[in-house]
């Protein structure tokens, strides 16, 4: 376990100044920033949202984020995490370190999940900033309602699990193909295809469907978490098998 912890630390260091890391920061704050600008421009305030203002504010931002930007960000970030090794020709150096292949595989996956959590954190900070800053600028009263942390945590957890199939699938692809375009291309095709065919009765079979803002209102909403978890486990097992049995490791 200690070795795994060091391995994760090592992998996390690789994200420093990386494109994936910047993507996480910019992507996390992008939608909240747009709303903040719009609210300042239109002089609208979070208090005008009626009851459950934080929930309404949070949902409207998430709706815009989860439709395309979130899965797109995940596709890019997941591919970039392994691309760092291909681009720098460093797989061979990683594979001659005293680590089991399973340690390397799961440490990278842990970093990928950590990056996703970081993105969620930035987004939530952005949500709160976008809600409160217009009140400060226009000397409007702060929302009287407390921030519903439990609601935030529950929703975040739900979206996080919905993201897992995309993360696992993109991780699988990016470990197999040196060419970054293949992993991103497959991801984009899957995402756009899911969008187009969203009304199809079997769309829940698409791993890209669970982050869709309309998924919660669809017929398969009750099973989103179950499907997402199954896909994540299946993709991870396949990915691990293919990675460990790769004939050329550098």
């Amino acid at each position: 376990m200690r070795i795994f912890f060091y391995s994760v630390q090592s992998e996390w260091l690789k994200t420093k100044n990386s494109i994936a890391s910047w993507l996480c920061l910019v992507g996390g704050f992008f939608i909240p920033l747009l709303y903040l600008i719009a609210d300042i421009k239109n002089k609208t305030f979070i208090n005008s949202a009626g009851t459950e203002i934080w929930q309404t504010h949070f949902t409207r931002l998430w709706m815009n984020m989860s439709g395309f930007l979130l899965p797109m960000g995940l596709i890019l970030a997941s591919s970039l995490i392994t691309q760092v090794e291909f681009k720098n020709n460093s797989w061979k150096q990683v594979h001659v370190t005293p680590q089991k292949y399973s340690t390397i595989f799961f440490a990278k996956l842990a970093v990928l999940l950590g990056m996703t959590l970081k993105f969620f954190l930035f987004f939530n900070i952005g949500v709160i900033i976008a809600g409160t800053v217009p009140c400060l600028i226009f000397d409007h009263s702060f929302p009287k309602e407390n921030i519903p942390w439990l609601y935030f945590i529950e929703k975040n957890a739900r979206y996080f699990i919905a993201c897992l199939p995309i993360i696992a699938l993109q991780y699988l692809l990016s470990l197999q193909f040196k060419n970054f375009v293949i992993a991103v291309g497959v991801g984009l095709a899957g995402l756009i295809g899911t969008f187009i065919a969203f009304r199809w009765q079997y769309i829940y079979l698409s791993p890209f469907s669970y982050t869709n803002p309309f998924a919660e209102r669809s017929g398969f909403s009750e099973n989103i978490l179950l499907y997402a978890t199954i896909y994540f486990v299946v993709f991870t097992i396949i990915s691990f098998y293919l990675y460990v049995n790769k004939k050329i490791k550098g």
Binding site: Y6, S7, Q9, S10, L13, K14, K16, N17, S18, V84, K87, N88, N89, S90, W91, K92, Q93, V94, H95, V96, T97, P98, Q99, K100, K247, I248, K249, G250
Partner: protein, 302 residues
């Protein structure tokens, strides 16, 4: 004798069925500097990759520190440092951050980072990103990574690639020092004969996936000393060869020279007179060089 690295009948075939290695057996004694020499495409990198477990599905056995790599990879790699082909450095990070990545994995003291940075002359690179380094600096950083955890065995594939002559001398002297002071076994591949000649205590010669020679540098030279030749360049080499044959000397006719087995200086002068008396102009008489370069060229063209 204890071998640090030992391969037995190693064979490897690429997915396109092209055989790269054919029964390669090498024996790297402990605390030696083993120069793995061969022209480009001879199979050096493939051999080193197999030794490090970077390639699978080979035939034959590989033992490092007397343990088979299969099943003991993690344990073995704790004592092995390597630099294979181009250096593996993260371009978006500084030299220090690059080393930190591996320091975490090897769990060696943080102070070691500064040590290897100054050993390899990279102490003053500061926050400069590795992507902005010259090829030589990247190569040094690759060596620094390989040295980070005080490895007992260092496997270096063409480590002086991209270094200027001064850098090459520095790295060579540094490797000698490492071997002398710390007893580090070094397995170094190169196509630069002079490098190996000046550095290695033991030599393995490989060409077209086959080992042509293995032993000490002295053994190689001694063996080849028995095969010294005199080369004549004349106005008519065919006629000269016929004259030599009449003297019971077996000449070998090369494109523009005649090669005969080494003989006394009196005989060399006598043969020269013979040629001149028979109306042939003698342009050049030379003894074939017996340095490592010549030996190497002879071996790979035989």
């Amino acid at each position: 004798m204890e071998y640090c690295v030992q391969t037995t009948d190693l064979a490897y075939t690429f997915s396109n069925r092209q055989q790269v290695l054919d029964n390669v057996s090498i024996h790297v004694p402990e605390q030696c500097i083993y120069g793995f020499l061969g022209p480009n495409g001879a199979g050096k990198t493939t051999t080193l990759k197999l030794i490090l477990g970077l390639l699978r599905n080979h035939q034959g056995t590989i033992k490092i520190f007397n343990k088979p790599i299969a099943g003991h990879r993690v344990e073995i790699m704790r004592s092995v440092g390597s630099l294979i082909e181009s250096p593996s450095v993260y371009g978006h990070l500084s030299a220090k951050d690059n080393l930190r990545i591996f320091q975490k994995v090897y769990q060696c003291p943080q102070g070691r980072i500064d040590e290897v940075l100054s050993m390899t002359g990279l102490a003053n690179t500061g926050t400069k990103k590795a992507a902005q380094f010259s090829l030589g600096m990247k190569q040094r950083l690759g060596i620094a990574i390989a040295l980070l955890h005080h490895p007992a065995l260092l496997i270096l594939d063409e480590p002086t690639n991209g270094l200027d002559p001064n850098g090459m001398v520095e790295i060579r002297e540094f490797l000698k020092l490492l071997n002398r002071e710390h007893g580090t076994t070094i397995l170094i591949s190169s196509h630069l004969l002079t490098e190996i000649d000046r550095l290695a205590t033991h030599i393995g010669l490989i060409n077209k996936g086959r080992i042509l020679f293995e032993g000490t540098a002295e053994q190689l030279k001694k063996e080849k000393n028995r095969e010294t030749y005199i080369l004549y360049k004349t106005s008519d080499n065919q006629a000269a060869a016929a004259l030599f044959a009449r003297q019971n000397i077996k000449p070998a006719l090369l494109p523009d020279t005649i090669k005969i087995a080494a003989t006394s200086k009196e005989n060399v002068a006598g043969l020269n007179r013979l040629l001149v008396h028979n109306g042939l102009d003698v342009y050049e008489i030379t003894t074939e060089k017996n340095d490592l370069e010549t030996i190497f060229m002879n071996l790979i063209t035989d």
